[in-house]
Structure formats: structure tokens, C-alpha cells
Symmetry: C2
Subunit: 303 residues, 2 copies
């Protein structure tokens, strides 16, 4: 209030001019009508939401009210059908009993993994190996078994060059403008910058897209719940598979490059780039940051 | 425009009343002063942003302009310091060369993994095994090596019961109100509902929290870039480790339960629940949905 009063005395001329300008503005004259329009729109929205909620509640009550859920599925006379086929569940066949050293051996395998930024451009692992690793990634769990991922494997040099051009162009802007000073400083110990030779040196690039939605077998839109978490879990499994195969990798999340890379690879608009992975062998004289990982006591709490 | 005119003729009395009301409102009288205030605030914000950008650009130029980055690090006279210590990089020692069957064998291991909802409450795997699996998860890569994760392992029955109470209470509301009809229907083939016996039957619950930020060794705030993707990747590695150890698991993302579970486990406010994992052995007569996974040709595209 005192701020307003202060400026009213300081700029009296300016104020009277602006008042004249504002009183001539049509928007302010029609306030009552605009307010009414907004109220009507809100009312329509409320009615729509209420209807949706009724529909939802009734389908839930049906599901709860029957002992034999399988019978209820066939009887349900609803326009809403599940994306997955409804089949009786099958016995679970556990693949392995406790492997007493399995967890420890797996940890020993994974602790050797490092993010590698210098790849050997002359040695290319067979594509079969990469395919097996992607098969493994495809075993990831996903929200309502939607499997919302696409793995684009780039091995042609020309395509890798186009990827590199897009990423380096955007990263130049990221480092100089989009990322704040603390972020750029925090990356300094890792020696990363906007120049990315690994994008053309690595024999394979794997661009992992999350699918925000999909299509059911009968052409309806399939909603993909938790698609980002699911696809990231799949990426974690992929990293393990590559490590098991003896390959090196680098996980990157190129800021603002998604749309251009999606267009380059001609992916549909429901796919969004999540992770860009470089895969291959490390260069002979490859160096990595002198990092330590947190100990168990820093990452685990027992209850 | 015609919409406004239409309502003006329909509600003439209402409109005149509202006009009287609006003209008596102090907010509208002081428009010029408020506008000026906003302009001043915007100008201050712009100047601040410009200063930050200058700072950032200069630190980037410094980084680019020096051949010997290590020297530049010590000379830099800036208030902004990286979260990690700046040390020379070290030679990378590859743990394994290509293991020709590694990728295939890893896929064979992982294809046996299924989400299990019926756990054997009487057999408890040793805690050492779970710890090794969490050690493996802790090898995950993370944005700027921030390691933004906390794994809370619950084995006490009383705590598991409290977790179950919180989750079942929220899930009751989720299924009946928060989740839309299509979502509830899509979950029907998986036979999931708001009753969660596995939360007390499973010998271990692992609640995975992402840390939105952390603290450096000298007490400054440490920003955690891409903390959700990083923690989800760690969760993917954890699933592989559990599978390698021969244990069963279930990944869940309990909607709206995060704050209550965080308070239950007395975790700080910078930690947000991402995934709740049940871990143990499957019940003898355990059944799982009759699901198929997408084939390689549906999840992989080659370029």
C-alpha cells in the first residue's frame, strides 16, 4: 500500500496518462462479461469431471463386489476395455533358487563398470551381442506391462555424424546459456564439454526413447503409466547386460536434443528421447575421473 | 466478441450490478501503480539473470581457453566450486574383455524374472545377500556423479505393517478416485487391487528414495541433476542383482504414499519415494499373469 502511495506522488503525470490509456481499453470495460464467461466454462468443466468420476466409481464397485473376479471380467458390459488380454494366471516357475554367491558375484561384475568417454573407433563388437543386451533390457518391468520403450541402434557413420552435429550444437548452447553456473562447474571434474568425439568414435549409439502412449492391437490408444521410470529401469538392465558382455558404455541425457534426434531417426511423436548411450570398447589409453563411490552405510538404512 | 454481446443483452441487470461492484474495487483504481510495480520487478529480475549469465559465460570461456585444464582449476578465483574434488583422471582398467556369451547368458538369466505378488512369509534370505545387491545398485551412473539415492531396507514386521497400512489406505483412494477408469481397467488383467498382503509377507521391503539435492562435504547445497532417471537406473541394476542372487521381487510405485512413508522412515525432506520393492521368495503355489514380452523387432530399430 505505501509502495503504491509513494509512486503515486512521484509520477503523477505518468499515472494520469496511464489511467487515460487503461480507461480506453476495451478489456477493462467488458470485465463483467468476461467474468461470466469464465464462470460458465468452469461450470461445464466441473460437470464433465463429475461424470467421469461417477463412471470410474461404478466400475470399481463392480470389481470389488464380486468374489470371482474372472467371471466378472466376462460379464462386464463396459466400453472401457483393458489394454492387455484377460487370461487366467499361470504357475510361476522360479528360474533359480538362492545363489549364495550370485549377489556378490554380480556386484563384483558391476563395480568394474565406468562411464567411458574415449572409445576405440576401430574395433566393433558383433551386432548379435548388442541385440542380446537389448533383449535383456526388454525384460524390464513396466507400469501395467506397457513396455513403453524403443531402442534405436545407430551403427552407420553418416547417422552417427548427424547425431553428433545435433548434440554438439545444442550442448554448445546448454553449456553457455541453458545450464546455470553451478551445473557447469559441477561437471568440470568430469572434463565434459560440448565437444563429443565419442558420438562418432563409438561403434554403436543406442538412443533410448520412452513412449508416452502406444496403440492396442485393435487400434485404441494405450496409456503408458510411469513410462519414464519404466524405461530408465530398462536402461539400468541394459547397462548390466553390456557389462556382462564385456562392453563399455556412456550414459548421457542430452538436454534439448530430443525433438531433433527424434526427427532424425523418424520416430513418431509419442516417443521422447530419454537416454543416449555410446557403446563399444575403451581406447587403449583411456582415462576416467578418479571417483569414489559412496559406501553401503551412506546409501542404505535398515529398519 | 459476439459471445460477450449476447450475454450483455441477456443479463443487463446483473451486468450493471457487477460493474458497480468492480468500479468500487481498489485493485482496479490502482492499475497504473500496480503495472509500474510489475515493470520494476521485471527489470530487477532481468538484471539479475544477465549477471548470472555473464558469470557462467566467463567460466565456460576460461575452461575452453586453457589447454591444461588441471592448472586452470587451481587458478580459478570463483565463488562457485564443483561438488566433486578436481583430481587428475586415472587410467581406465577394463574389468573384462568381450565375453562372447556374456550378453546371451545375462539375457537368459533376466528373462526368468517375473513380478511376484505372493511371497513366502516363512523363508528369509540372509541380509548379506540383500546388502550385496544394494552395493551393486550403488554402482549406477548418475548426473555429475551425485549418487542421488537412498535404499531403505525394512525387515521389522511392525514397520512393514505400518508401510502396508499407509499404502492400502492410499491405494483404496487411488483405485476409487484418483486413477481414471481406463487405468483401473488396464490393471485388471494383472489382478492388482488395493489389498497388498505382499507388503507384510515379503521378508524385505526396499523403499528407494531419490534425493532432489544433497550436501557437499563442506556443507554447501549439492544439486542433483537427473535424480529420477539416475535412481531408476540404479533400481534396474538392483533388480538384476536380486535376480542373480535367485531372489524374487515386485516393483511398485505407490501413488500419493511418498510423504507418509518418508515420515514413517524419518527420511529428510530432500528425499522423495520413487519405488517400493518387495523382496523374498515366491510362495509355493504362486501364480503370475500369462504375459508375453515384445519381441526384439518390436523394441529395436537399426540405423
Amino acid at each position: 500500500m505505501c509502495f503504491v502511495a509513494y509512486r503515486s506522488t512521484v509520477f503523477p503525470q505518468l499515472q494520469s496518462k496511464m489511467e487515460a490509456l487503461l480507461s480506453s481499453c476495451k478489456l477493462f470495460k467488458h470485465w463483467p462479461s468476461i467474468l461470466l464467461g469464465l464462470l460458465v466454462a468452469l461450470a461445464i468443466k466441473y460437470i464433465k469431471t463429475y461424470r467421469k468420476r461417477r463412471l470410474r466409481t461404478s466400475s470399481w464397485e463392480q470389481l470389488e463386489g464380486t468374489e470371482n473376479v474372472a467371471v466378472e471380467f466376462t460379464l462386464a458390459d463396459s466400453a472401457i476395455q483393458p489394454a492387455l488380454e484377460e487370461k487366467p494366471h499361470v504357475p510361476f516357475v522360479p528360474g533359480h533358487n538362492l545363489n549364495p554367491n550370485g549377489g556378490r558375484r554380480f556386484y563384483e561384475l558391476m563395480r568394474g563398470r565406468r562411464s567411458v568417454r574415449a572409445f576405440n573407433a576401430n574395433i566393433k563388437p558383433p551386432i548379435d551381442v548388442v541385440e542380446d543386451c537389448i533383449r535383456a533390457a526388454g525384460t524390464a518391468p513396466s507400469g501395467a506391462h506397457t513396455e513403453p520403450w524403443t531402442f534405436c541402434v545407430v551403427e552407420q557413420l553418416a547417422v552417427k555424424q548427424s547425431v553428433r552435429e545435433i548434440v554438439e550444437h545444442e550442448e554448445q548452447i546448454n553449456y553457455s546459456t541453458r545450464m546455470h553456473a553451478q551445473w557447469v562447474t559441477d561437471l568440470r571434474p568430469l572434463h565434459t564439454n560440448a565437444v563429443k568425439p565419442y558420438l562418432t568414435d563409438a561403434p554403436y549409439l543406442i538412443l533410448i526413447f520412452k513412449q508416452t502412449h502406444g496403440t492396442t492391437t485393435d487400434g485404441r490408444k494405450k496409456l503408458h503409466y510411469y513410462n519414464e521410470i519404466s524405461t530408465s529401469i530398462a536402461a539400468g538392465i541394459l547397462l548390466c547386460a553390456l557389462q556382462a558382455a564385456g562392453l563399455c558404455s556412456l550414459v548421457t541425457t542430452p538436454l534439448n536434443c530430443g525433438p531433433a534426434l527424434r526427427r532424425l531417426l523418424e520416430r513418431p511423436t509419442n516417443e521422447k528421447l530419454l537416454i543416449l548411450l555410446a557403446v563399444g570398447y575403451a581406447e587403449d589409453n583411456c582415462k576416467v575421473p578418479d571417483l569414489e563411490r559412496k559406501g553401503l552405510q551412506s546409501i542404505m538404512v535398515k529398519y
